[in-house]
Amino acid sequence: MRTDISRINEQTPHQELTEGLMVFAGGTSKYFETGEWRTRTPILNHDLCRQCMVCSMVCPDSCIPLKDGERVEFDYKHCKGCGICAKACPFDAIEMKEGR
């Protein structure tokens, strides 16, 4: 009964969908690319960034990953462009640009 989410798409006939559209699998939200909703995009100015990591902590969608003690590039597949990171950045290192 486990769901192979890779086999379900917008052409799947109703008989092949799960009951109540339940997903019998874990960690599948990463396949839901909420970055498509974005109308404004955060851009990092590397010269101003001091790696304080405040942006990563305030991101409600965990779209600012950390690696080896530094924040790395935005996860644009899932970033909805809310702009919280830009507001929170104490060094004005994040700018919101119109569009995706």
Binding site: E10, F24, T28
Partner: protein, 393 residues
């Protein structure tokens, strides 16, 4: 061995719950269903069952908790009436669309206003399109029997839908009648253990319940849910057959009472069917060919089966214990006539509204209704549609 006892309808439901020993019961009290959670709480306090009772702060929370608990893998139920059911409205739809086999003991009571605590079917009828299975009872015995059949229907893999077991507020919920109870062991065996294949609290096998659906999935999900409700009809009949084996009591989608050769039939739901049967017995003694169909399963609506059962009649009185405020009669009236029309069965029907807010429905009124049907056919005098029975004029 059956046990003979006497009980109110609420006691009978609470007794069935004791025998089933469900896992979780979130509930909030409301007249006239309050006794059900109260009595279940007593069973729990006395150590007779190990159901987890959640004293929630509202019916909105009761149904939310029921959905959460059912999704977690626990057999869950609640009880309510009237405004309590109305306050569950949003969650009723979710229980059904999330395909959760929750059971709900509904003790039918009028919806406000005017505010009133007595019986009519406006609460259940208000929830008629929420995707729940709805089964109505004439008396205490039936509501007990229906409750024992609830989980085997709802939890069937072909169904996986929530189920409402309805009885008439005060008329059956508080009136004490003779009743034949099943042995605890028989009920336990009949209902069985709840073993869902997939559930939230299942380590290593994660699931997501009620995920967001974009446009391209919503219609497909609804179709699947509608198909499940349709399939539940067969399951209801199959479970009734199994139930007959342990109880000796026979149930169907509806009961046909003296209708074989009937010219005039009254279609009715709930406790008032008893009144109608008494009147039909009296009319039969006078040589009148009258009969009663008591609808047991309102959802899924057995439109084709009812149309077939009514096709031999000259005229049918369709009795609604609710006002639909649509200028076109009650839910039973609308749905049964739609079923007749689709089958091209052109039986005369008259839709009556009765018993609102606990108004008495008497044997004399049933005689009068059958008299109107006869006058209609014999003398061509068409009765007024949607008239209120017992209204002061």
């Amino acid at each position: 061995m059956a046990v003979k006892d006497r009980m109110s309808g609420n006691e009978a439901v609470a007794f069935a719950i004791r025998q089933i020993n469900p896992d979780v019961m979130p509930a909030f009290p409301i007249t006239p269903s309050t006794e059900i959670p109260q009595m279940v709480s007593t069973y729990i306090a006395n150590g007779e069952i190990d159901t987890e009772f959640i004293p929630v702060e509202s019916e909105h929370s009761a149904m939310s908790a029921a959905i959460g608990s059912e999704a977690a893998g626990a057999r869950t139920l609640t009880a309510t009436s009237s405004a309590g059911l109305a306050y569950m409205w949003e969650e009723l739809l979710l229980a059904a669309s999330n395909r959760m086999p929750v059971a709900l003991a509904l003790v039918n009571r009028a919806l406000s206003g005017p505010i009133n605590i007595n019986c009519d079917h406006s609460d259940g009828m208000g929830a008629r399109d929420t995707g729940w299975i709805q089964i109505y009872a004439e008396n205490n015995q039936e509501v007990y029997d229906n409750f024992i059949q609830a989980y085997p229907i709802a939890e069937d893999p072909q169904v996986h839908l929530p189920i409402m077991i309805c009885q008439d507020g005060f008329i059956t919920s508080h009136a004490v009648e003779n009743i034949e109870l099943l042995e605890d062991g028989d009920v336990k065996e009949f209902v069985g253990e709840y073993e869902p294949e997939e559930f939230l609290l299942n380590p290593g096998k994660p699931i997501a319940v009620g995920p967001y659906s974009v446009t391209n999935y919503a219609m497909e999900a609804k179709k699947n849910q509608a198909d499940a409700l349709k399939r539940s009809k067969e399951v209801i009949l199959k479970v009734a057959e199994e139930f007959e084996k342990i109880s000796g009591r026979k149930y169907g989608l509806f009961e046909e009472y003296r209708t074989e050769d009937a010219d005039y039939i009254m279609l009715i739901m709930g406790s008032a069917a008893g009144t109608a049967k008494q009147a039909v017995d009296d009319l039969r003694e006078q040589g009148k060919k009258a009969g009663v169909i008591k609808l047991r399963v309102f959802r899924p609506f057995p439109a084709d089966e009812l149309a077939e059962a009514l096709k031999g009649a000259k005229a049918v009185a369709v009795m609604d214990r609710t006002e639909s405020y649509n200028g076109n009669g009650g839910p039973l009236g609308s749905e049964v006539t739609a079923g007749l029309y689709r089958k091209k069965i052109m039986v005369e029907t008259v839709n009556y509204i009765y018993g609102l807010g606990g108004r008495d429905f008497t044997v004399q009124e049933v005689y009068d209704i059958f008299g109107e049907l006869e006058d209609f056919i014999e003398n061509g005098k068409a009765p007024e549609q949607f008239q209120y029975i017992g209204l002061r004029k």
